[in-house]
Symmetry: C2
Subunit: 253 residues, 2 copies
């Protein structure tokens, strides 16, 4: 067995009253997780918090000490309910003010008459941070230590990730094999699946039932940072499903 | 001004590796938030944690002491990766075993030959808990203290909520008014919106930009537990949008 690099673990912090009230359906967690996985970074925890500076700051501090990286989304726009930049400054105990480089980005984008006090709030950057480029609407995010502060709007957040990715040092890449079986019932396969988990060291197995108007079944997933172990686990998953009289479909590899 | 009842605050704990890997897009947080709001219960925080008993138990304990209620989803099926019931027992420091009333529910649903050891895991209930009815697939959830443990599959979770709702004691109902303005740019309205927040005590205002292939704009939202204050705030939101030369649409009331 070769040495596998260590697991690099990150947290996602989703910020905004609208996520907790149910007004807005988050999709950023999934986007971030799928972007980071091939880079060798696993999301180990996510939190959703309201637009309350002390609450945001406490979550930032809890997560940045517990994980290798923290990725936040939301709360960096021009309106009074955008409190993330100040909250991150509060968490790190540093000052925050309009910064020339961030201001220059806004000046290049907005007409002089449009660059009012509200929009200038988007150039307020905590001391010591580096900017994160925003290819969609220009107002930057920022990185402070191991914390990456991004926009909440999904298209903008996704654009910012492309400037974040190259700054990250990933570890082991955890890959997965997913097998789908129509008509599979979890209770019928549970014992065999548990036996696979016991057999394959370094592989975790999950079972996810699905129900749709035209039927039901389960997805069986093997995950591992060890490609050879994953290969063997995937073959055993296929055999497990066939043993139950179901022809398995490979969903992704 | 009449006395308004206190705000009742809850947390949602979403459990499962599949949510953190990006395999599964959560929708349960939004469903729970929308179900509870009319009952006078606000979601104040949400967390997503992996299928690790100590991690689940720590989150349950952090949240149940900080909020009036905790609602968990996921991890109560028959397979080895379903660890929520044991984790909640661990959090409360109580025992867990197959319980006759839960077992009877499964016996009435499954053929005797199908009720194997794996399916019987779904009758393992922590000491002192009461069952939560599952109108979809029968295997029950449970309530222990202020913690409500529900399934992860969205249709099953939604079914369980109907047995949870009557057990909850709500407080102030926070309602909202949402105004949509096509072509609104947040930077143009930020100062006026901040002025409304300063003017209307007990009302919070949010601004949520949207971008679509055929245009852009913003939703402006006022939220309050005080119906009269909300009514006045909603009228001011309409006026704010009209003052910017945009005809507002009322999205919900």
């Amino acid at each position: 067995m070769t040495d596998t690099p260590r697991l690099v673990r990150a947290a996602v912090l989703l910020i905004g009253d609208e996520l907790l009230s149910g007004r807005t359906q988050d999709t950023n967690l999934q986007t971030i997780a799928k972007y980071l996985a091939p880079l060798g970074i696993q999301i180990a925890e996510a939190r959703v918090v309201p637009d309350v500076p002390e609450t945001i700051a406490a979550a930032v501090n809890a997560l940045r000490t517990a994980y290798d990286y923290v990725f936040t989304t939301g709360g960096i726009g021009p309106t009074h309910d955008d409190k993330t930049a100040d909250s991150v400054a509060l968490a790190f105990g540093v000052g925050i003010d309009v910064r020339p480089d961030a201001r220059a980005i806004l000046e290049a984008h907005y007409k002089t008459t449009d660059l009012n006090e509200a929009r200038l709030r988007m150039a307020r950057i905590p001391e010591g941070a580096s900017l994160i480029a925003n290819p969609v609407s220009k107002a930057p995010g920022f990185q402070l230590g191991n914390v990456f502060v991004m926009a909440g709007v999904p298209t903008i957040m996704r654009g910012m990730l492309d400037d974040v990715g190259p700054r990250l040092e990933g570890g082991a890449v955890v890959a997965s094999r997913t097998v789908r079986g129509r008509g599979l019932r979890e209770g019928d396969l549970a014992a065999a699946l548990a036996a696979l988990e016991a057999k394959h060291a370094g592989v975790t197995f999950g079972s996810y039932p699905w129900f749709s108007p035209d039927g039901y079944g389960a997805h069986l997933v093997a995950r591992s940072a060890d490609p050879a172990a994953l290969e063997a686990a995937g073959a055993d998953l296929l055999a497990l499903v066939r043993n139950l009289g179901v022809e398995p479909e490979i969903v992704e590899s």
